[in-house]
Amino acid sequence: MKQILSVVLLLAMGWFLVGLVPLGQPTEPGRVAQHYIDNGIDENRGANLVTSVIVNYRGFDTLGEVTVLFLSVAGAGFVLRRRDGLVRHEHRPSSEILQTGARMLFAPIVVFGAYIFVHGHLSPGGGFQGGAVIASAVMLLLLADRSHHLPHGLMHWLESMAGFGYVMAGVAGLVVAGSFLSNQGVLPLGTWNRLFSAGIIPIIYILVGLKVGTELSSLLDVMIDTGRPARQEGGRS
């Protein structure tokens, strides 16, 4: 009965969605977007307009987004902190070949992640993507070698400093140009389409990349280190 009900509900919702969406009509940018497109280069010098929108025009939202990510990681860490009902994994080293490969690949993957977040204002990519790539390198290392310990002190320091730096960049805009996270006059805007351009945008994206990378790495560390249930039997699966 419930199954049929849910199918009917879904069909109704699908019908509603299909009616809501303008199928097959190309959309033109709205008034705000047209302003960003026309003036984005003059105001920010970042070739990637999406980055300009995220880090500058809607930079305050991104600060909130970074906070949400931090809170969810902190929440996951808090939920998984208590270990009652769980025992630690017994230590089973993986193959020597795999460990060597993981350690060999770690550095290139981190460089690739750094490349992505440093070039966030020039090409597709940015702090969140680059941070995720770096976290994938850490995951590779952790999965290949469970005995590997992350430098938690360094990571916490980096993470807090990155968040602090983001807010400080915003305050600098407030002091110099009179509005939080303003990009005018804080740093020279530079030339279009070169690496050192777009004022504080690359700085903020580098900070976001470091923050996301360290946050996701600690999340993976907590999840891998959780252990398995003490009892195996019982319960429908």
Binding site: S95, E96, I97, L98, G101, L105
Partner: protein, 132 residues
């Protein structure tokens, strides 16, 4: 020049997809996980390399990055299949009926551990110590 390069690039891409298809067919036809992985790993590696190289010839600006991807695939693809095969053998996945010999099982049994046992074969034999 450009026409020739387009032709070569398109042919390489086609050849690569043919090898990828053969790999998929191999996974379908082979009897057990190890034999399937044999077909899968080799065919996907060469298939990827050929497809990517063909793409690089079609768009020469991408060639350096594509060579990086090829190198990455060459390292990671066999590594992952090694990890999968090892995990399969450790958790006791049976070999195909046609299999004639299993040295690893014999050595594990000689060391007194069965498949899926949490005890490490090298810890039990006390032989190898991996030093970083």
């Amino acid at each position: 020049m450009t026409d020739l390069m387009r032709l070569v690039g398109a042919s390489l891409t086609f050849l690569g997809s043919a090898f990828l298809f053969l790999g998929a067919l191999g996974i379908f036809r082979m009897p057990d996980i190890y034999n399937r992985m044999q077909a899968g790993t080799k065919a996907t590696t060469l298939g990827n390399i050929l497809t990517l190289t063909g793409l690089g010839l079609l768009a020469p600006a991408w060639l350096p990055k594509i060579m990086l991807i090829v190198l990455f695939v060459l390292i990671t693809n066999p590594l992952s299949s090694h990890a999968l095969a090892r995990a399969a053998h450790r958790s006791g996945v049976t070999l195909a009926r046609e299999t004639i010999y299993d040295a690893l099982r014999e050595d594990e049994e000689a060391a007194g551990i069965g498949p899926g046992s949490p005890v490490e074969i090298d810890a039990a034999a006390g032989s190898s110590e991996v030093t970083p």
